[in-house]
Amino acid sequence: MDIAAPPKESLAAWAHRRLFSTWFDRIVTLVFGAGVAWVLWQVLGWAFLGAVWSAPNSDACAGASGACWAVIEARGRLILFGLYPAEEHWRSALACLAVMLTMGLSCWPLFWHVKRLAALWVAGFGLFLVLMRGGVAGLAPVTAEQWGGLSLTLFIFCGVVVAGMPMAVGLALARRSKLPVVRGCAGGLIDVVRSLPLLTLLFTAAVVVPLMVPGWLQGDKLVRVVLAYALFFACYQAEILRAGLQSVHDGQGEAAAALGLSPAQRVFLIELPQAFRNTLPSTINQVVITFKETSIVTIIGFFEVMASGNAALGSGDWGRAFIEVYVFLGLVYFVFVFGLSRYGAWLEARMRRGQRH
């Protein structure tokens, strides 16, 4: 016997059910609806209707009722590219694109194999470094002190995630080790690092390590800071992975052992892939947090997008337009972070679909 499909709900009926079905719903809908409309109108008036789009300096905006977007016209390149030499900005832009493309591609399930991911990132980073550093193929060399803006933010972010993931796997496995000392060391390291503010770790890497490590081991400041940040990321991610590993049923490991897989194969082929899949939402969340916190590196003198934003409004000509610069910065972060979190939601939905089969 066929059961007839329920009649399709009309838009009005749907709106009534979701918005006006009870008195409480009606009041909430009207009050909050009016509030939202008012806020939107105010924002519209400030950002568009009363805005000044072009001016020689912020004095010209003094009389306007809206935003002084002229600051973005004049200083936008500084915000996006930082101290990178002006005539080479195209390289910084291309490097940004290369990294963004690499990020985009690694979100694509086709690339979800260790070898493919590694090849992709080696290629992506290679291209980025060639473009940013120069010194080959007729490109003028640019030192790391001059890197800045969005490309530096993206570089730090990607470097942290790419270097932090293997660290996280190592730490998560070490914390599950049967050897008490290994387990204790990993656990201690994870707990200590997670209790510390990121900034103290970065500060240590930038200014204390040179005092504590002989010169030949120091490496570049940027590398040290990326590695310290990667350690911080890894300690959080290791805990996420540990939860994921715990959720893999014991029977699977036993089955793999029965099939004659070595312990290493068991971990890397059976348990870890499942742990990664099970913890994807938390992992994405961690990655999102990592992106937002890259702005902290400004305190140790890196000219990432937040610092270059501060430099952009720190001039006699543009000092008054600080709100516009901060709004612009907020939008830049929002684009990336919102993209990442939507991607996370999509992954979650995809996984749930997968589980139902």
């Binding site: 709106a15 979701r18 918005l19 719903d25 909430v28 809908t29 909050f32 609806g33 939202v36 049967k178 050897l179 008490p180 000392v181 290994v182 060391c185 707990d191 200590v192 997670r194 209790s195 510390l196 503010p197 990121l198 900034l199 103290t200 500060f203 240590t204 200014v207 204390v208 005092l211 504590m212 490590v213 002989p214 805990e239 999102v288 937002k292 916190e293 702005s295 937040m306 709100i323 901060y326 910065l329 907020g330 972060y333 929002f334 972070v337 919102f338 979190s341």
Partner: protein, 376 residues
């Protein structure tokens, strides 16, 4: 098999000893190199500077402080500032987060949209930008002379929110704290013995303390201090400075977005069958929520919540950007003033370790207590 086992133990032993040796060597190498570098450059080291007076003031403190206070005392004041704002933000974020979580599973479209929009906006903009925003809001209120007043008792201006406050001396506070401690102890002891009277005993202690305070007060001193305008500032009352308020609001709203997600996840993780079972037993919807849904959701949420709380504590460090003298800001100023970078960085790390370990420990204990007993 026994041979294999002994080999494994021996190999395991070697690995562990090797690991310890490597760690010890690396640490020794670091310390020795640092020593050499520091001596080579004629830098003064050690914690002697902690006793020296700072010469700079800190404007928010729960303990007595002046420009003559020692570095140690100023650092302590900073740590306490962090604890105060962190603890309050933790409570507010949890309350608001719970509301948000409930909104997002409520079924009303507008509430869901507002909840979702809130979470997406507040999660996706860096905390420091949000702190700037709230600080700008609080400092763009009218000046003290044009302050907004409510019932002559609450004054809101760009110098902060001033509330009427009880006039307590340090001794009064001591008496209150003792009474509170005694009350809690009485309650716990009574509960251990299975007595119901614990609640009354605790109340009794507080009443006793109140009577003592009232009796011991010098005549003519008012119990409440009410704000009033004096020259450039508002005197009397309890002032919540804009720096503090902005940080508190920013942290609470940012934290609430994350906690809202945790609460939503927790609520969704409760199987509908259990709620139906509750209803079938004749519980009212309120009772179902209170006795079945929330406790079960809380269990699912607690590990994630404890992570979030530790994170929130660490996020107080954005206070430095808006002029709130939190622990990090004070340490940072001290680094600039005294130049003792290594020592102060170590103090900063130890301070946060202590706070977060205590918090983590307490939440773990709670988690253990709340775990479903018996079969999981």
């Amino acid at each position: 098999m026994p041979r294999f086992a002994s080999f494994r133990t021996r190999a395991g032993f070697t690995i562990q000893v090797g690991l310890l040796l490597v760690i010890a060597l690396v640490l020794a190498g670091l310390v020795l190199t640092a020593r050499e570098n520091i001596l080579g450059q004629g830098m003064a080291t050690g914690f002697g500077f902690l006793d020296r007076s700072t010469g700079w003031p800190v404007n928010v403190s729960v303990i007595e402080l002046s420009a003559r206070s020692s570095y140690a005392r100023v650092l302590l004041a900073g740590l306490l500032n962090t604890l105060v704002v962190g603890a309050l933000a933790l409570v507010l974020a949890t309350l608001l987060g719970t509301v948000l979580g409930l909104m997002r599973v409520s079924g009303n479209l507008i509430l869901e949209i507002i909840g979702t929009t809130y979470v997406e906006i507040f999660r996706n903009v860096p905390m420091i930008l949000q702190a700037f925003f709230w600080y700008a809001v609080f400092t763009h209120l009218p000046s003290p002379r044009q302050a907004i007043t409510f019932a002559d008792a609450v004054v809101l201006s760009n110098r902060g929110l001033v509330l009427p406050a009880p006039e307590f001396s340090a001794t009064d506070l001591g008496v209150l704290a003792l009474a509170a401690l005694a009350g809690v102890a009485a309650r716990v002891l009574a509960a251990r013995r299975g007595l119901r009277a614990g609640r009354w005993l605790a109340l009794g202690w507080l009443v006793l303390a109140a009577v003592l305070l009232w009796a011991g007060r010098a005549p003519g001193v008012p119990m409440l201090s009410v704000p009033e305008l004096q020259g450039l500032r508002i005197a009397g009352g309890l002032t919540l400075k804009p720096e503090f308020s902005a940080l508190l609001v920013g942290l609470s709203l940012f934290g609430a977005a994350y906690i809202g997600e945790i609460v939503r996840g927790g609520l969704l993780s409760v199987e509908p069958g259990k709620l139906e079972a509750g209803r079938a037993l004749g519980l009212t919807p309120g009772q179902v929520n209170r006795f079945i849904r929330l406790p079960l959701a809380l269990r699912a949420m607690l590990p994630a919540l404890s992570n979030q709380y530790i994170w929130l504590m660490k996020a107080t460090t954005v206070g430095i950007a808006i002029g709130y003298p939190d622990f990090f800001a004070v340490v940072s100023t001290a680094i600039n003033q005294s130049g003792q970078t290594l020592e102060l960085l170590a103090i900063l790390m130890l301070g946060f370790l202590a706070v977060n370990y205590t918090l983590g420990f307490a939440l773990n204990r709670l988690n253990e207590r709340l775990k479903l007993k018996g079969r999981s």
